[in-house]
């Protein structure tokens, strides 16, 4: 075993994931390699001390602020939403009209392409369902344009 391979085993050993056989191999290598022995000890110390590094204290009013933001998003359209709405009307309508002419009404679906992107961006998470994006209504408050594109239809204008 060379030092490069030993380095990988050092990680496994420090993380408590090395098998007995791997530990024996590593021990055998370290008997003849002071550099890896030193690396092993140092990695153990780094790991131990990192776990004891201080954890900064979160702001005491965190929950209140989070709830304020949620309540604000629930209750009224934000300024940015209004601005986005204005942009939709100002810039979106001519584009939509052109699209209508080119593709016809049937090609514009209330699709979810943008929703998917936003969902994966917002909560790229463990489950595939999330990536497919089942989007809550409140999302519009965060990403005004997703609402626009999702509902892009002649009726919107």
């Amino acid at each position: 075993m060379n030092c490069r391979e030993a380095s990988k085993l050092i990680d496994l050993a420090v993380d408590g994931l090395a098998t007995d056989e791997q530990l024996q191999l590593l021990e055998f290598h370290m008997m003849g390699c002071s550099r890896c022995r030193s690396s092993f000890q140092m990695t153990m110390d780094i790991s131990r001390i990192t776990r004891t590094l201080s954890s900064p204290t979160p702001p005491p009013d965190l929950e209140a602020r989070v709830r304020q933001r949620l309540a604000a998003a629930d209750s009224s359209p934000s300024l940015s939403r209004k601005a986005a709405l204005f942009r939709r009307i100002a810039y979106g309508a001519p584009i939509a009209a052109a699209l209508l002419l080119v593709f016809g009404l049937n090609t514009i679906h209330p699709g979810s392409q943008r929703s998917d992107e936003y969902a994966s961006e917002a909560v790229v998470g463990p489950s595939k369902e999330i990536r497919k994006g089942v989007i809550a209504k409140q999302e519009v408050a965060v990403a005004p344009f997703s609402g626009y594109r999702r509902n892009a239809s002649p009726l919107t204008f």
Partner: protein, 197 residues
Amino acid sequence: MAYQLVKSGKRQKDTRSDSQLMVDLCGGDEDAFSEVIRRFQGPIYGLLIRMLGNEDEAEELLQETFCRLHRYRENYDPERPLVTWIFTIASNLAKKRWRRRSRWITVPLDYVNLTSPGKTAPHYESGRVELRASLEEAIGALPPHYREPFLLREKQGMTYEQIAEVMDIRIGTVKSRINRARTRLRRLLKDTWENWK
């Protein structure tokens, strides 16, 4: 929607599992959300502040993490650990912020508590404090894509599989990034460690 902003009286320990809290939250139990915040605010803030090196940004993204958790609560799969899901949200927010910055940030040391009392001999303790300060600085000097898996492993005690899920990378990549993070840290801390040990 009327939220309960102020809690009064002595709080009893909530023994519900993380998953149960999310199920209850989806059922309209806002106290469950309070408990989720209480459980995860420290670890998430610890990661964000070390990733961003800036208290204001870390606080902002901490709030946003919990807002998104609440907003997308229906997407949570109770079969999977909440810790992975919530760290994924925070991690993605941090990544978006890095992209906006387009550069790597070194974490300042101003929030590091260097006066944690120890029960060891004074000279050993001062060496330990120095090593801790150097270690904090060295972690801050790691590129974010090495720093994050290292912190998730060492500070949060996550498995390689969980880190892979949070960062949306392969387990092999997690291993190699942690290996590189440790190699860099050893290089950066060699002198301090030699003096300390």
